[in-house]
């Protein structure tokens, strides 16, 4: 077999990153070298990985075996279209983020910086290995390496107890998920104890065991992806991490879970059952709505973004559910459409969420504030950050002609094409699902207006914002890269979809036919639906230009600056703007049932009144608290065994002896 070149490159880059990790460990004393040398090199690696991914999409995938791993189970690596696609996603997002990180971490102390760079590169390497692994052991090792390194990244600032708690919660849920993945692989290998994916592909599972495997996978990967109700760690952990890391975790790491789900469901399992899809769809929609509702009531900007990540994962998962439904129902074309949509959305989310997180990073860096109540008006102090973030915000809010709109458009198209499914109840479910998706999208717009408006617009809510400084050049470059990706992905959907074709062909042996051309995107037929963002954009620009010139002509263009009018109210000041809580208040009012609101009411005689309304989700109380209590109770019961009296211990062993003697006769 000829050695697959791209795969070797990928492995080479992994080693290269490991090397960088080791190097940064040696640079404990020289912080500036880490930022000025190691991280840029790491960024190049990311770019190279993206290139490898492209190669994996176009070239025939290859695989080879490394001499490490278990004796009977060396590491198998494999590069196919699916992993190729996710490599592109990883590389593309990671490049921008790492470039950004070069500037972001410049001011960090040398020792922690070295450790951070160590874990950072291990994290990247781990994620790449997850995508390349072709046997259960390699996959699990990479998976946990990813989790562990990201845990250490999250707890970079471990002096703060909340961050420690967040990290703990994160690693715990990640580990439980990992164990269930382990069980899933145990099922998948179906008897003949071989753990390479090749064997699993060939293993014949009964529907029952297949379902068990799927459920275990859904649980395991869902725990990593932040699927409701396993999402509790996400809004804690993502904000806790340094912003570039949050960007990677939200943008890329969550997608590895999607990758795993696709890999297991469509590649390793050789039977797909419709109700899996229904389940996934339901969970996805729940997650989407839940996430966006809570995003709307957050007042910590990174937490808000974390919740919005949950929402996007929900949308992706809904797409996944539809794919399974259609595929199990033999509607290949539709399955291709939805799968394209979900992959597209995953790609988009990697970029705009990365962009938004690093944007908040810059704000955090120059103001030191995460709470939106103490921000505002930054568009004047830090225009670069503001405008680039605006691109991200519009994109994630699903505004044409940016990329967020395309994927949602595709998904909605899928809903419209559904009639005539085998199961009648599905035909009933689909419209409701469509409605839910639409509502989530609309709420996302709400969230983003709140986010951008409160942080960047209006009056500065605190004094220290007066001397906030804009991001430095590496940051700007990083953000530019991500923003450019958002725009381009939005403008050339037809090309992206062609690039996605190999993935869908690999998984469901069907590709999405584009009835249009490179300019027009027409998923099924031009008659049904079509969308041409480029034309769209050009026309908008044209109209803008015309209007502008026209106005210029008819209008003399004198402008007078004055105080804001505000219905003639004189003592207008920054404290009178909506705070983050205020902006979220209508949503809180509407969706009160889901939330547990902690309020701090101001005292009427307070000169500088302060109001705080913190909305937490009830799932913690409803689901996790009981579990914890149960565990405590059980351990209390177990504690009774150990009550210190030796006679009782003797009684135990005596009883055991007698019992066994009776039992064995």
């Amino acid at each position: 077999m000829p050695e697959p070149i791209p795969l070797q490159w990928a492995w080479g880059i992994v080693l290269y990153w490991l090397l960088l990790a080791g190097a940064s460990l040696l640079l404990q004393r020289r912080g500036h070298l880490v930022t000025s040398l190691v991280m840029p090199l790491g960024a190049l690696g990311a770019l190279a990985i993206a290139a490898v991914g492209v190669a994996g999409l176009v070239l025939p995938g290859g695989h080879f075996v490394l001499p490490i791993g278990l004796p009977d189970l060396p590491f198998h690596l494999r590069l196919d279209a699916l992993s190729g696609f996710f490599l592109v996603l990883l590389g593309g997002a990671a490049f921008g983020v790492t470039v950004y990180a070069v500037g972001y971490f410049r001011t960090m102390a040398a020792g922690p910086l070295a450790l951070l760079s160590l874990w950072y590169h291990l994290f990247l390497a781990g994620m790449v290995l997850v995508l390349l692994a072709d046997d259960a052991y390699a996959f699990m090792v990479a998976w946990e390496l990813m989790a562990l390194s990201s845990y250490f990244l999250v707890t970079t600032d471990h002096k703060i107890s909340d961050i420690r708690r967040a990290g703990f919660l994160y690693l715990l849920i990640a580990h439980v998920g990992a164990v269930s993945l382990l069980l899933c692989f145990g099922v998948l290998q179906g008897g003949h104890g071989a753990y390479t994916f090749d064997y699993m592909r060939s293993a014949e599972l009964t529907p029952f065991w297949a379902s068990v495997a799927f459920l275990l996978a859904l649980f395991g990967f869902g725990a990593k992806a932040g699927l409701v109700p396993m999402h509790v760690w996400l809004p804690e952990a993502h904000p806790a991490a340094p912003s570039p890391v949050s960007a990677l975790m939200s943008g890329v790491m969550l997608k590895t879970a999607i990758y795993g789900l696709l890999r297991v469901t469509f590649d390793l399992l050789n039977v797909q059952i419709a109700w899996w899809g229904t389940l996934a769809l339901a969970l996805g929609l729940l997650t989407a709505l839940y996430g966006v509702i809570f995003a709307a009531v957050q007042s910590d900007m990174k937490r808000l973004l974390a919740w919005s990540s949950i929402e996007n994962i929900g949308i992706i998962l809904a797409g996944f559910g539809l794919t399974v439904i259609f595929f199990a129902d033999g509607k290949g074309a539709l399955a291709a459409l939805t799968m394209t949509a979900l992959l597209y959305h995953a790609l988009n989310h990697a970029f705009f969420k990365g962009l938004l997180f690093v944007g908040t990073g810059s704000v955090l860096h120059s103001t030191g504030v995460r709470h939106m109540g103490a921000l505002g008006g930054l568009i004047r102090r830090m225009p670069w950050t503001a405008w680039l973030t605006l691109v991200g915000a519009l994109a994630i809010a699903g505004m044409p002609p940016l990329n967020g709109f395309v994927s949602e458009w595709l998904l909605l198209q899928a809903f419209l094409l559904t009639p005539g499914l085998a199961h009648n109840y599905l035909n009933m479910v689909i419209p409701v699902a469509a409605a839910a998706i639409a509502m989530a999208a609309a709420l996302a717009a709400y969230v983003m207006v709140k986010f951008f408006g409160v942080v960047f617009l209006g009056q500065p809510r605190a004094e220290n914002l007066k001397h906030a400084h804009d991001a430095g050049w590496p940051e700007r470059l990083g953000m530019l890269w991500l923003a450019a990706a958002c725009v381009l992905l939005g403008l050339f959907p037809a090309m992206v979809i062609d690039a996605l074709a190999p993935v869908t062909r690999l998984l469901i042996s069907q590709t999405l036919v584009n009835d249009g051309n490179w300019l027009f995107l027409a998923p099924v037929s031009a008659e049904r639906a079509s969308y041409a963002p480029l034309v769209f954009l050009l026309v908008v620009l044209a109209v803008l230009l015309v209007t502008f010139l026209a106005v210029r002509r008819v209008y003399h263009g004198r402008i007078r600056r004055a105080d804001p009018w505000d219905c003639g109210y004189a003592e207008q000041d920054a404290r009178m703007q909506d705070s983050a809580e205020g902006f979220g208040q209508p949503i809180r009012q509407v969706f009160d049932v889901f939330m547990r609101v902690e309020r701090e009411m101001p005292d009427p005689f307070d000169r500088k009144p302060h109001y705080r309304g913190d909305s937490r989700d009830k799932i913690w109380l409803l689901l996790y608290q009981p579990i914890a209590d149960l565990a405590t109770w059980l351990s209390a019961q177990a504690g009774r065994l150990q009550h210190g009296r030796i006679q009782w211990y003797l009684v135990y062993s005596f009883a055991t002896l007698i019992f066994l003697l009776v039992f064995t006769r």
């Binding site: 177990a638 504690g639 009774r640 065994l641 150990q642 009550h643 210190g644 009296r645 030796i646 006679q647 003797l650 009684v651 005596f654 002896l657 007698i658 003697l661 006769r665």
Partner: protein, 220 residues
């Protein structure tokens, strides 16, 4: 026919062993316990010797001698000294009251006999029927360890269990290989000395040998 006489003697001794075991269960005074223990050792040694004589298993003589030296002479003497030195010889109420203990004991004996029945059938030794008794005395010693709340009685129970084991070895298969018997004896000896050191340590730390003081380590 001589063999049957010896056999009867052996069985008699076995019965004596069991009797002593019960006596130990009901004995309240520590000194009394030690005496009983010595008697048990004696019975054990005697039966071993007789079996050795009757079956010509000469290595059994050694173990008989060993038993006499260790369990009839050395240890009782040692224990008496301990009791004097630590002066702990007074009535001790066991955790469970005596009659109940007795009842449990009876049940155990029946259980042990049932357990030993199938095995002793296939035993090739003349003394097979005593295997049940051996097992019973082991279990009774165990029961005694459970019911006693003082250090020394517990240890005596432990040694009584050792006696039961020896008896089992003798009755089931004319004893273990000599090396093993030696080793076991050595262990028992060392164990007792270690215990001796222990008693003093415990005594000087808790100024009593009552196990009630030693229930601090627990889950709270």
């Amino acid at each position: 026919m001589a063999l049957s006489y010896t056999l009867q003697v052996v069985n008699l001794l076995a019965a004596l062993l069991l009797l002593i075991a019960f006596a130990m269960l009901s004995q309240r005074r520590i000194a009394g316990l030690v005496t009983l223990f010595a008697w048990q050792g004696g019975a054990l040694a005697a039966s071993t010797a007789i079996v050795a004589w009757s079956t010509g298993q000469h290595h059994l003589y050694y173990s008989a001698v060993l038993t006499v030296v260790l369990k009839v002479v050395a240890m009782p003497w040692y224990f008496f000294r301990l009791i004097k030195r630590l002066d702990v010889d007074r009535e001790v109420e066991p955790m469970i009251n005596i009659p109940t203990t007795m009842l449990i004991g009876i049940v155990l004996v029946i259980f042990a006999f049932n357990l030993a029945l199938p095995i002793s059938q296939m035993a090739g030794t003349v003394t097979r029927s005593t295997l049940g008794i051996a097992m019973a005395s082991v279990l009774l010693a165990f029961l005694m360890m459970i019911t006693r709340s003082k250090a020394i009685p517990q240890v005596i129970g432990f040694l009584a269990m050792e006696n039961g084991l020896f008896f089992a070895a003798t009755s089931a298969s004319y004893g273990m290989p000599l090396v093993v018997e030696m080793g076991v004896a050595l262990d028992v000896l060392v164990g007792v000395f270690v215990l001796g050191i222990f008693f003093f340590q415990i005594r000087e730390t808790f100024d009593s040998l009552d196990l009630k003081h030693m229930e601090k380590l627990k889950e709270r």
